[in-house]
Amino acid sequence: MDSHATTFGVPSRKMAMWVFIASECMFFGSLIATYLSYEGKSLVGPTPEEILNIPLTSVSTFVLLMSSLAMVLALDAVQTGDRRLARLWLGAVIVLGGLFLGGQVYEFNHFYHEGLTLQQNLFGATFFVLTGFHGAHVTVGVIWMVTLLVMSLRGRLGPERSLDVEVAGLYWHFVDVVWIVIFTVVYLIQ
């Protein structure tokens, strides 16, 4: 699909993605603000200190960071017309994104069995809403990557379609930077 340039000389689809990302900053900013505003105000447990699993989340964070590396290498491969490498790196993004989501499902399930639910206390409500929305964004990103991989397998993701991968990559990296903030604010600064 052709993408016209805006008056700034940026492809319109890329500009649209950046505008979307700017709006998403405010969306996640509001969720993080709510989490921090209610932090330490739960009347009953479990509290973050009692329940958060730092080693598991550290591995998840590393996995998501490496998925960003795979994404940028996939874009590079598409731009240079290396279809085999493009498929390899897109596949890696999907696998790493899936691993991150698996870790989150495990964590949510564990918390539920430890008595932390959306209704249990302020920590549960704000934690699940914040990390749940982030997980939903990762899920959308993984589905997006699967569609790109299918396009590549059908031979429809050549260098002329590199903007498709670049725009998807911007979304993926944004999801990554949001997690960088969540990991610090929610997990490490308790």
């Binding site: 890329k14 900053c25 405010m26 603000a33 080693p55 590199s162 490490l188 600064i189």
Partner: protein, 106 residues
Amino acid sequence: MAEHAAPESSKGHASKSTYWLIAVILGIITMLEVAVFYVPLLHSVIVPILLVLSAAKFALVAMFFMHLKFDKPVLTTLFAGGIIVATVIILSMMLLFGTIGPGAHM
């Protein structure tokens, strides 16, 4: 907004070796963050240390993986605008709820 000829996606970006180097740095910073969390001696200064390390990771991903370092400045302005508004929202809410500022009770 006026429309011009269709451009290709941005090709001005870092080399593959730079991407790998950035990934290694990101991994090292993450390890440092976790290490800081587990060192009791640093607990009095843990917040500023973690915020600086987190900001460094954020900046590296935005500059190199999102290509802001090599792309049009208008995109950096757009992203920075969103981050500034988000930061103001966070600080305002924390101030309103007494998490920071006079009479803070965490």
